[in-house]
Symmetry: C2
Subunit: 425 residues, 2 copies
């Protein structure tokens, strides 16, 4: 039986000649995300993977339904597997925001789902780092969020040669629009054209713009000038102070398709332009108000960074050298004398109680096969228990330095092993 198209299995390490996905790689990415978020004082949260369909329609309109994994549950509720985290977050923050000092800085690592028309190799689920700030309208918050985004990518050893954050402004585009058009109803369509500008045939974009009363040349000149707004200038100065200015540039090609952004918006791209956006986000000062029907009003901003593009990029740039395979045991316990199996188990238990990862043969196996196993699993220390004329003796072997010591005292054997293991780690 096969898994569903667009879903991934995560074997412990990547399978030979298969996709790069694995639990080891995923854990490496999640742990790095968590470590950097922690440095920035973001606190982890999570919500349900299944939500009322209405939550997404309220935020994005009916057209979102075509892209969702949605269905009617056995209680006749219209529900959907979450396609994004922000609506859940807005709901959670709005419900209990009084419990929290502002700014609220939170992150999550949800699995998200989209049912789009099937494209070759296109996934229907991915994991995403979501980092958001609520309750601060000053551009200092935008700079803090951008610094987190940049430092997250830097933590994977990506440099300014590998990626750039393209920073733009909904306000700048709004002003551009207002100066040339007095009908606010046309704004959404105008933003959609700008959003597609880099991917669409210029003739087509030009025609659409003309139909709305704009000109492609005018739009291009505005993008070309890339004149930062006062708000963007503050954000840039803040990032310069942090030494992060190499990672960001003003680029008005970015506008973000979603309707709810209100201020600075941004997207991170690989510099070679081989991949889709690595991350994207911006300010959404009206979203909480919208989701709560006006009951709670909190400025907000955030970004999402998916695991799929990131993993592909790290692999392509040779930054995915995870040395975890085989490194999950510290100690191999060799059982040469089956009559000592039960005694051996008592000592193995003690080693595991001390936090060490210990392997041993579950059943009787020849010593040379056991030794081979110890090397295969890259154990760094091997224990063996043997009977002598006078009693029991432990031999402890450093499998890296190929050094062996014997003692009749288990505590001493443990000290020898611990000294080796800590010097080898």
């Amino acid at each position: 039986m096969e898994r569903l198209p667009g879903f991934r299995d995560f074997y412990p390490e990547p399978l030979p000649n298969q996709d790069v996905w694995s639990a080891d790689v995923r854990n490496h990415i999640f742990e790095t995300w968590r470590a950097v978020a922690r440095c920035y004082g973001f606190r982890e949260y999570d919500g349900p993977p299944l939500e009322p369909l209405e939550l997404y329609i309220a935020k994005s309109g009916e057209e979102i339904v075509g892209q969702l994994y949605n269905f009617t549950d056995k209680g006749d509720r219209a529900v959907a597997l979450r396609p994004e985290m922000t609506p859940t977050l807005a709901r959670m923050v709005a419900a209990h925001e009084r419990n929290y000092k502002k700014p609220i800085k939170w992150f999550a690592i949800p699995q998200l789902f989209r049912y789009e028309r099937q494209q070759k190799g296109r996934l229907r689920e991915h994991f995403q780092l979501n980092a958001d700030i609520f309750g601060e309208s000053d551009p200092a918050a935008d700079a803090e969020l951008l610094a987190l985004l940049i430092d997250t990518l830097r933590a994977f050893k990506l440099t300014a040669d590998d990626f750039v954050v393209r920073l733009s402004s909904r306000n700048a585009w709004q002003e551009f629009f207002n100066q040339r058009c007095s009908d606010p109803a046309k704004a959404y369509d105008f933003y959609q054209i700008i959003d597609k500008l880099e991917r669409e045939d210029p003739a087509q974009s030009g025609a659409k713009l003309t139909a709305l009363g704009f000109s492609l040349d005018d739009v291009r000149a505005f993008i070309q000038a890339a004149e930062p707004t006062a708000e963007l200038a503050l954000i840039l100065a803040n990032l310069v102070a942090r030494g992060l200015s190499d990672f960001v540039k003003v680029d008005y090609n970015v506008i973000r398709g979603l309707a709810y952004y209100t201020g600075p918006v941004f997207e991170a791209f690989d510099k070679k332009g081989e991949f889709r956006a690595i991350a994207g986000g911006g300010r959404y000062d009206n979203l909480v108000k919208q989701v709560t029907g006006g009951k709670v009003n909190l400025p907000g901003l955030g970004f999402g960074m998916g695991d799929v593009v990131l993993t592909e990029l790290l692999k392509a740039r040779g930054k995915l050298k995870i040395q975890v395979v085989g490194l999950y045991y510290d100690i191999f316990w060799l059982i040469e004398d089956e009559s000592l199996r039960l005694e051996s188990l008592a000592y193995i238990q003690q080693l595991r109680d001390s936090g060490r990862a210990v392997d041993y043969p579950l059943t009787g196996v020849k010593s040379d096969k056991q030794f081979k196993r110890a090397l295969e699993i890259k154990a760094r220390v091997m224990f063996k228990l043997a009977r002598t004329g006078t009693g029991l003796v432990f031999s402890v072997r450093n499998l890296i330095a190929k050094e062996e010591r014997e003692t009749t005292d288990f505590e001493e054997a443990c000290k020898i092993a611990e000294a080796w293991l800590s010097s080898l780690s």
Copy 2:
């Protein structure tokens, strides 16, 4: 807008006067699960949360469908949110078992879903530690798995006064059945009666047993004797050797409802009997064969431990004292002189680059309010940058020992802070 009934929000820390669920508690549980699994050399994997419905029907029969979150997707596929991990695991292992030396020891922490008739407070999702071993039919593997289960609960500081693993045997019951009945078609019904014996009215159980040709007294005498099979005796001796025998007792009341168990089966319970089972599992030597239509034949065994009962038990026994709230910052950087904000950001960046969690005021705030914030977030060290007649001076304050030092050298300031932070951690 409310979340769906039976689903949980995970705020960073537990909300006052609400459920115990929180991301902090969940992370504590997941990290403990991972740490113990690692000591036993179990490797993490994961699979899709959505699978073909057929996968579950193949294993558990059509009756399972009534308990599932199942629906038809936009590609007309019958799918279900996973109610358990074992079918996915069996599929994954069967597909690539040749890549792995036996025994295969794997674990996962999936979120699982059941749509049961709504009961007050009953959840429709939970997380579960799943640990399984494939490719070893010796009872030594059952003992290894039970030791992992016991040590996982011990890692939460639960003792033999708090819980017990009730160990039973499908083989023992099979033999009991065969000695008294020659119609194998009745075995499943018989097991269902035994499974309900402790919860059901004895008169009803007795009537059902009589109808099948058994007697309640006979069944009770068998349970009362609790005579371990040769297999169980080996497992018990193995656990005695590890010093874990206090945590386990033979108890033939346990039989496990699911059809696919074949050998030893077990369930862990709190000793006061206040909660549902903490964990349960057993041997299922035919499952891989069944799921692969006979293509792959691998003995297997495993257990599941849910986060809900475990969290409730830990809370009830006072073992859930997680001191993470407020401990997510190491350093607070106080900005007294707004003209030094950008310089301060440069130094904050360096502290974060070194892996420290640093908070600072995003906008201009009075110093006494900032100091209050530093104490609230339980920062252990506070930095401040000030202008003197000759240049800049850093003051570093140990907020625990209430000691302050000044230096014009940032590197020296960092050394002072690091010494304090490591002595305070």
